[in-house]
Symmetry: C2
Subunit: 362 residues, 2 copies
């Protein structure tokens, strides 16, 4: 098993190296830690992965030398005192002259430091070239992401059975939810848990407060965990007590937009078209209360490429894992969001999050 | 109280605006979310704060419009569909022509996008100028950081009383520790909890495993929480059962280095001198097993300026909050780290973390 995983990392590195000619580079510096983990298996928080056309070196500071050596073999691990000097030395030893870097990650300051330090080498910004580096998930990644999703969904189901009722505060529910997931094997939460009730649900990214849930509330729970580094992401909206006709209709509209969007997803569909479909289904009455994009890729980071939004240029393809999360937000009143994470296949998509979304209006 | 806090934000903005002439700018774009929170009080995850010489606008996407308007008044909130276009429009309306940006944060890609978009304006990289922006804490920040530290220390004390004993796994202990802190009011953890026992303690940034604690172990617990956005950071090393003479001597050496470093800290001392003192106290026998820097600033981020390390150019000054965390790491065997967070004053420093560090060798 470990061997198979190590092979997967080497295959990913090899796939990048094969693109060197088209990128017009003979080496690449990776400093985004998620990209480094994706390519090498290193789970630390800081480092640089340097690829030449036929080798890979992981540069780390002294905190990570022992850990990295255990995690990334057969990749060579080099310890640096100073990151820029470590890169300079490595570039020299590997004879790199045209060096790609992550344009969307490397800061101006680091770029200037590298330019000063690597006088003879040419630095080549790689932006669009690396945008989808982690977007296509392999079998192992899908399995891990399903496990993450299952843990998180089960925790929400437990919360629904025990805590989502009048008297509980948002903060108490968030704590219980996270504990349940951790006990079930989650390494950590994937993002700050959102539990937003009543008027707080009108804030798409609300933080849990000490507001007590009461009758007539919508409660939006947006929850995800990490398992083996991979994130899950799912949102349920629950109703406390009786819904008004307006609330029921709004929920039905969001659910229909969510369902139709998911039904439309398959290899080859433009991400912007999925977003447009959601807005079309929501219609004139609701779409102006849908104040964010329809979804995003998920993986080692909870938000990664591709992006499902009006101005997205991305095309969905088999192997991608993305969220579909329409919502409506009525400031000062209430809000609704329904989100599943789906795995894109050739002719359809598979929902990997587990909570049923239609129970609220049954 | 809320008014006083709002005034604090406006004072911070005003302090930055006063430096515009020396930075040779008539505006600054802030996109680092911690800097934005520091200057405006906005607690969301994405946005841009634009300062002109006499005003401040917070640009956010639709997810945050309602939340931002509630959090940052009297600062104007502007909603964008596309971040770069939002910046372009704002720069035009405010008439900015020489615009500073965070050189250590803005990526090459964003810099290029801004350059294309803001044709007539000059972009001015601000690196060293903004490095210490958040380094000097005011009274309110110190009070909040003390509360964060107290919550975390109390959780470690509870763990010491109940869980740090043979049979518990690192993961179980991490979960209990985090739950205790959350119940006591922590918003979330400040960084991934480190609980490293036995040979795992030789990894400075170990992740909790299912290894069971056993007699003869050192257990390193590096734990911090967030309270009102501010982080705490503290490390205790506990002994399970009897220590060997080697272990006792090593612990004493680390404690002495920790104590002498803290005794040396006051306004005006060079951060590199504190680091050098630690290495001098550890001496030839131990210092080569001390594989990281002595400490770092703490605030809205758990690692921020200044830096206490051999090559640091920083000088510690009254109002800064920094960690002092010498450690020894014997790969495959055991490790020790002792860390407190201190508030630098004119003639000394005040330890704000609460666990006693000398009980292990009493």
């Amino acid at each position: 098993m470990q061997q198979a995983i190590n092979d997967a990392f080497l295959n990913r590195i090899s796939a990048v190296q094969k693109k060197f000619p088209s990128y017009q580079v003979n080496g690449i510096l990776f400093s985004n830690i998620s990209n480094i983990r994706y390519l090498s298996g290193f789970t630390g928080s800081d480092g640089v992965l340097v690829l030449s056309s036929d080798t890979a070196w992981l540069l780390v500071d002294g905190r990570y030398t022992t850990q990295a050596a255990a995690e990334v073999q057969p990749i060579s691990v080099v310890q640096y005192q100073n990151k820029i000097q470590g890169i300079e030395q490595t570039v020299k030893e590997l004879g790199l002259t045209k060096i790609g870097f992550e344009a969307s990650f490397v800061s101006m300051e680091m770029y200037n430091d590298l330019t000063r330090s690597l006088k003879k080498a040419k630095l080549v910004p790689l932006g669009d070239e690396l945008r989808l580096l982690r977007a296509y998930k392999d079998k192992h990644e899908i399995a891990v992401m399903k496990k993450a999703a299952a843990i998180a969904s089960a925790a929400v189901a437990t919360a629904l059975a025990c805590e989502i009722q009048p008297g509980w505060t948002e903060q108490e529910m968030a704590l219980q939810l996270e504990m349940t997931a951790r006990r079930a094997g989650a390494e950590q939460i994937a993002f700050e848990t959102i539990i937003a009730s009543g008027e707080n649900a009108a804030l798409p990214h609300a933080q849990p407060t000490n507001r007590k849930i009461r009758n007539g509330d919508f409660v939006v729970i947006d929850f995800g965990v990490k398992y083996q580094g991979y994130c899950s992401d799912e949102t349920c909206t629950f109703a406390i007590g009786e819904l008004t006709v307006d609330q029921k209709n709004a929920y039905r509209a969001v659910l229909q937009a969510h369902d139709e969007a998911i039904a439309s997803i398959k290899a080859g569909i433009a991400a912007a078209d999925v977003d447009a479909l959601v807005r079309r289904v929501l219609g004139k009455k609701y779409s102006r209360y849908f104040v964010h994009g329809t979804g995003h890729g998920v993986g080692l980071e909870v938000h990664e490429a591709p992006r499902l939004a009006p101005n997205s240029q991305d095309v969905l393809n088999a192997g991608m894992v993305v969220t579909v999360e329409p919502g409506l937000y009525y400031p000062g009143r209430w809000g609704i969001r329904i989100e599943d994470t789906v795995f894109v296949k050739e002719n359809s998509c598979e929902i990997i999050t587990k909570m049923k979304k239609d129970t609220i209006i049954e």
